[in-house]
Point group: C2
Chain length 419, copies 2
């Protein structure tokens, strides 16, 4: 009998699971002259199992290095996060600043420094404005409350245009369990993690090893499947905290309960991942690229990522152009094994290309499909049984325009005496 799992959406974001509190303040990191929420805290009142997934970029931000090390000590039960400054390429000072932030928060919470994970997102290469962050930490800690999940979702936003949060309730082994999450994305989004942060809270009771495995598995089919601009950031971080406050017994490895928990976690992370694509920088379309019938899984992945990352393909989507010629050219350069004369390309199930040639579907029909806010490109290679799916977007002139300069941030840093 297959596992049955009813996933119910609830309110509260990261505060929906029992025993979690949150807080968010304005520290003037994004812009001291027009303060917005930019410093956030999530805290469990009880010890947690913790798990994480981090960027594979060889240039890692200081908070990534610090949080990875803290995670090994296996006692994390709070996360402090800021937006506006990535604390990346900031050397010894950056590491020191990240540790100091963790330390100040830990003191406020009565925890040890290693129990507080630190995350940053924003501009790379600028020193952290600690003079503005430090005095705000008492206010941040004092503000902890069980209804502030939304504030955290807002405070981690950078070029995001809307907050991304979710909470679900599921019954696992006779106990009601809640999972909450918030995330931020927008630019530097690419398979193998994005410029993204995602914080997950749950009152399920799982071992750290089981949680770590579940997080890595879910990342592989959610955040590793999204691409906006093909760039991978220095700061990507997913952290999950499980405090066991649902009252259930510890979930056993490979049990039915374990499968159900993983399913619910996957649901939450996939929703967050897709939300990041939909709110990608100046994105107008959500495009699912599915590859079927590749000889190997790796081949299927190569084809999906080549198509989903092609500047020319993404430009055509922006223009409502059902241009299968550009799609097949990206299939060809993906380095996967393909045979041109076997390739079919469908747009929302309508044939655009059959056996490597223009299909009979009318141009207007295809154009109407690509004109939608959301559509699916299916590439069938007919060489084997491997499939892969990526969630992508169009690339707009506005994206480039938006990303032309971060100079204003640097000018501010100089004004602050940081450069």
């Amino acid at each position: 009998m297959p596992d049955k799992l009813v996933i119910k959406r609830i309110k509260g974001g990261v505060c929906a699971p029992r025993g979690f509190q949150a807080s968010a303040v304005s520290a003037g990191i994004k812009n001291p002259d027009a303060p917005r929420l930019d410093l956030a805290l999530i805290s469990s009142q009880h010890p947690c199992a913790a798990a994480g997934a981090f960027t594979t970029n060889r240039v890692k931000a200081a908070p990534v290095k610090v949080s990875q090390a803290y995670l090994k000590a296996d006692a994390i039960q709070a996360i402090v996060a800021n937006s506006g400054n990535a604390n990346a390429c900031t050397g010894v000072q950056g590491i020191s600043d990240a540790r100091k932030t963790a330390n100040l928060v830990a003191k406020g919470l009565g925890l040890r420094q290693r129990q507080v994970a630190v995350c940053s997102t924003g501009v790379i290469g600028l020193p952290m404005p600690m003079a503005r962050i430090e005095p705000k930490i008492p206010e941040l800690v004092a503000g902890l409350g069980a209804k502030n999940g939304e504030g955290v979702a807002q405070a981690i936003m950078t070029s995001d245009t809307c907050k991304k949060e979710i909470a679900v309730s599921v019954e696992i082994g006779g106990h009601r369990v809640r999972i909450g999450a918030c995330a931020k994305g927008a630019g530097m989004i690419c398979p193998s993690m994005a410029t993204m942060l995602c914080f997950i809270t749950t009152d399920a009771k799982v071992t750290p090893a089981c949680l770590q495995k579940a997080v890595l598995e879910a990342v592989d089919v959610s955040f590793n499947r999204i691409t906006i601009d093909g760039d991978m950031s220095t700061n990507d971080t997913v952290i999950a905290l499980a405090n066991g406050q649902s009252g259930m017994a510890t979930i056993k490895r490979n049990s039915k309960e374990c499968r159900q928990f993983r399913k619910a976690l996957h649901y939450v992370m996939l929703k967050m991942a897709k939300a990041l694509v939909r709110d990608g920088e100046r994105v107008t379309k959500f495009v699912t690229v599915e590859v079927k019938g590749a000889r190997t899984y790796l081949d299927a992945q190569k084809v999906a990522e080549a198509v989903a990352n092609s500047a020319l393909v993404k430009s055509s989507w922006n223009g409502n152009d059902p241009n299968w010629g550009r799609i097949i050219h990206a299939v060809g350069y993906s380095r996967a094994m393909v045979r041109e004369e076997l390739i079919d390309i469908h747009i929302n199930g309508k044939a655009a290309c059959l056996g490597g040639l223009q299909a009979k579907t009318s141009m207007d029909t295809l154009r109407n499909m690509v004109a939608k806010d959301s559509f699916t490109i299916t590439i069938s290679l007919h060489l084997g049984k491997a499939d892969y799916e990526v969630y992508s977007s169009d690339l707009s002139p506005e994206y480039i325009d938006f990303n032309r300069s971060e100079y204003a941030y640097w000018k501010q840093a100089r004004k602050d005496g940081l450069l």
Copy 2:
């Protein structure tokens, strides 16, 4: 003693070498209502050694397949090329159309079909408008003349804004030798060949094997070093014809003359490659990305290509933003071995980042460098002795806007009864 070689620029493009003629006509392939030159012919009056380099895209245009096969027969002495239609993803009909074009030109020239290479560039997936091409071939052949090099350079243009041609004269082994070339590029430009055509003519006397080796070597350090949008096309072709009419003896393998010839060929191809970048679609800047001190050659290449292809890095160049943070983040995800704390980044020799940290150079100085039409990014990894260099460009909002739709081409094809 090092080889001394004086390379003199001369006029005439592909017709500069002795014994070559050219012709170009309007066949209405680009636009039947507003005819522009779009069908071109280069022909040697004498037998040639021929060599070629072709796209590594697994989806290859019909003329690529046909010309590769003809090249093996080793008797090519003419090239017919069209712009406006790539004759790619056109199946059996496309192969038949490419062969027919070669056949008609061969008959006009008194050659065999396999002596005429065929090249196409333009939109992918549309059948060739043979009804417009066929009747124009007699006019094309009749128009052959020794002063029409420029016409060929014009007729192969697609989204290029200016023709690219060159001719040089060098003294090799006491004989004056000429090399001429024309090329087209603009979009789908990426290392490992671009959407580009390049035709090279010379009156040097070389064996086919020697010419082939020289062409591949020169491609590797010219056309394989350029990137505009990271997309690799189905039609990339370089063809070189050497008719020996300079009167010299055959250049021997590994001789001083051979080295001199290769040097001159490299000069010509690098000039053409750089010209393609400068005239990339809506490009405003020419950027040399040089990587020094990588552990391996492959690592140096990975770093250079990751930086040169990053949408975020290219966007910042478009905005005159000396954003070394984005550069180092691309270095980090390149999958090359790097150590963040050893990385230096210079812009036109001015330090932007030293040891992974912001350098002291004033922001205005760096900004002035990136504001230039042409600048060099130097990334020093300090891990070994391997270097690599790529020629790149910025990415502009206008590029995306320009590439939003090819729909008009498809509408024309329907009007022509081809779809």
